[in-house]
Amino acid sequence: MKKLLWIVMACSLTLTFAHLVVFTPFAMSAPKKLVIATNLEPDVLDFTIMVTGPATYPIGENIYETLVDKALDGKRVPGLASWTVSPDGKLIEFTLRKGIKFHSGDPLTTKDIVFTWTRAAEKNPTWKRRLQPINMEIVDDYRIKLHFKEPDAIFLPYRAYLPIESKSYYDRVGEDQFVKRPVGTGPYKFVTWESGQYIDLKANEEYWRGAPSVKEVRFRIVKEDTTRVAMLKTGEADIILDVPWKDVASLRSAGFKTVTADATPPCSIKFHLLNPKVPWYDKRVRQAIAYAIDSKAIIDKLFHGIPNHVARLASWEIGYDPELKPYPYDPEKAKKLLAEAGYPKGFEMPFYYMTGRSYGIKETAEAAALYLKAVGINCKVEGLESVKFVKLQREVWHNSTDVEAVIGADPGPGPHYFEPTEAIDLMCNSKSLYSLYSNPNMDALIAEMQRTLDDTKRGELIKKACRMLQEELPTIVIWATRSVYGMKPNIDFTPVQGIGWVYMHANDVRVKD
């Protein structure tokens, strides 16, 4: 009986092996689809009701389009519409391109803009607030006027960024189908979504910019980093998103191509500055901390040189000042400043970081703590779970004048954000729930930035604000993240720069044979 058992086991193993050898070539032969492996699965593909932006954008941006677009170098260009701005900034008129059709065949008209924005406002309390000060006036099928109570510099780079959905399609199929089978004006049409596995798209042959060269795309959802990298190596994926930084060098030497895009979130140290009794209330202490931490070393040694080392902004951002440099590494100067401020022997400092959400946060906080220890500042490093952390910031710290808190690694808005005005507003405006800083001069400057629609003029104001921030240091930027795309050597792809989210525009992909 035992012998029989061994025979059975041996046979089944042989059969399995044979099955593999015979059938594998057919199973593994690559289909014509372009396979892109991503680590984020969207919750929905409908931007008006989506919750997690970063997951929806890489895929959703192939199906939908926005009124305002970005060229590959990050410059703002007309997308579905061109626009004019009145001199006082209170009137923006959009003119839609003619002849654009949705995948459902319905033509794109101004009623679709109103529909999309009204729907977003209905579904999302935040969109409702953002769109409330705007009075939409349809002039005709292709022109729409937006009347603003106050000029809003954030509108074009950010708030106008809502992919346009079709009213006629919605009226025809109803809520359920509208969400499940999304329809847009973009280069790719939605085919199917297997939950947890993949999303299939196919080329929109009637796309107004010309049919895309890649005809079928499959976004495979693979959350595990090592598995994604393995997929590129075995040829199962043509492009992989979010290559772990430690694998970039080895992929390059194995012959694969990599491209990088500036992304969010950055990593900064953030000081709670509403309590005058703490050591870091003194500007010199904060500057000492900036001198004490070697950000370049952290970037190069911990993160393989991938993230961006900037003072406040990247070179493509409005208001970038090439004269403004990050604080150099100078521990001697740091100790001198500390002594000047009255802390020759250093002091104790709480050092919180948020766990679970962003890569590299914990390591950065720990590295920074080590640098600070070398100049006498003892950090009590403590990780807080993301939900608790957000709640603590918004509800307790923001209002408190006696808490002692420093965030060792905050992934809040900073460089590489949609628009520096918004990033500075969120992090440094005393009214913002994210902010732990109060400076009436900064508040006034931010208010002025928000009203200045002219990019050049606003750029000057942003430069001024950044210089103030580098002097005052309510936050110290350690690094700004970059996302790496890995791909087979026969693939040509350039990601759009200057957006912040990780995008994957499949119609920018060229496959060489």
Binding site: D43, T126, V222, T227, T234, L433
Partner: protein, 305 residues
């Protein structure tokens, strides 16, 4: 037998109710989903409005009563993240979990039981030692390491099997084997110890004295009696496989319930967590019930206990 069965069923129902209460309260007390759903520039008013929209502004016991009321009408709620009915989201992932769990389970029985018998009857032989090492590896190596190693060896180096995803047989082999290896070890060990116990009994000696061949003594008389603890363990293994292949699902990109519920926990998708856990506990409890009833069937002594 009937009283035994009814008692077991009632116990099962009570357990499910208790589990649902615990999960409901625990997920809400663990943190506020609203903060995860709000974008960076959200204000306090946005927060209040969103909380009201999700029905989370009411006190937790009231929320529970609403939940139960909806359940009785067959409404398991809508996933906060996916905006789809929870039942739909779970049903889409269920086949994946069933496929993976049953494949791993089958492997664990097909390899585990015979290996356990061989190990017991040929104690300290070469095959016993080999079997024990096999079991040791399966039980002590962390499954994510085994999984990643499997991908490295069979997909990247040998290019024999796909790295991830669900599809045809090729896609099932690595995840099922990695998942099943741990269970093979458990089944093997319990079969072995049960067999060792059984083979010592008087009735086995009697069977040998009666002149039966060793093969019949071992497989017909010995194994059948040794199966009782094995069935019990197998039931627990299957339930565990159905509910918790999270790591394997993550490593191999396999769409299953485990990773769905885990993500729901991270994302504080309360409705999905509630119903997901409710569903898996119902599966677990039903399986245990089946095992208990099988027990009663196999071993007459238990029926009257």
């Amino acid at each position: 037998m009937r009283r035994y069965a009814i008692k077991r069923i009632l116990l099962g129902i009570v357990t499910i109710i208790v589990v649902s209460i615990i999960v409901f309260f625990a997920s809400r007390l663990s943190g506020d989903v609203v903060h995860l759903l709000l974008p960076d520039d959200a204000t306090k008013e946005d927060e209040i409005r969103l909380r009201a929209k999700l029905g989370l502004d009411k006190p937790i016991p009231i929320q529970y009563l609403v939940f139960v009321k909806n359940l009785t009408q067959g409404d398991f709620g809508e996933s906060i993240r996916y905006r789809l009915p929870v039942v739909e989201v779970i049903l889409k992932r269920l086949p994946g979990t069933l496929e993976l769990a049953s494949a791993a389970f089958l492997l664990s029985i097909v390899f585990g039981v015979p290996l356990g018998v061989i190990s017991a009857t040929r104690r300290d032989s070469a095959s016993d030692k080999a079997g024990k090492i096999f079991a040791l590896i399966g039980q002590s190596m962390p499954s994510f390491w085994l999984g990643i190693m499997a991908i490295l060896v069979f997909s990247v180096w040998l290019q024999l099997l796909p790295t991830s995803g669900r599809g045809d047989m090729e896609h099932l082999i690595l995840p099922a084997t990695t998942l099943g290896w741990f269970s093979v070890a458990s089944i093997m060990r319990i079969t072995r110890s049960a067999m060792l116990d059984t083979m010592d009994s008087d009735f086995i000696k009697m069977a040998r004295l009666k002149g039966n061949s060793e093969r019949i003594v071992v497989w017909k008389h010995g194994l059948r009696n040794a199966l009782i603890p094995v069935v019990s363990m197998a039931g627990i293994q299957l339930a565990q496989l159905l509910g918790g292949a999270v790591i394997i699902e993550a490593v191999f990109g396999w769409p299953g319930l485990g990773s769905l519920i885990l993500e729901a926990v991270y994302g504080r998708d309360y409705t999905l967590v509630q119903s997901g856990v409710l569903l898996t506990s119902m599966i677990f409890i039903s399986l245990n019930l089946i095992v208990d009833l099988l027990y009663g069937f196999i071993d007459p002594r238990i029926r009257y206990g």
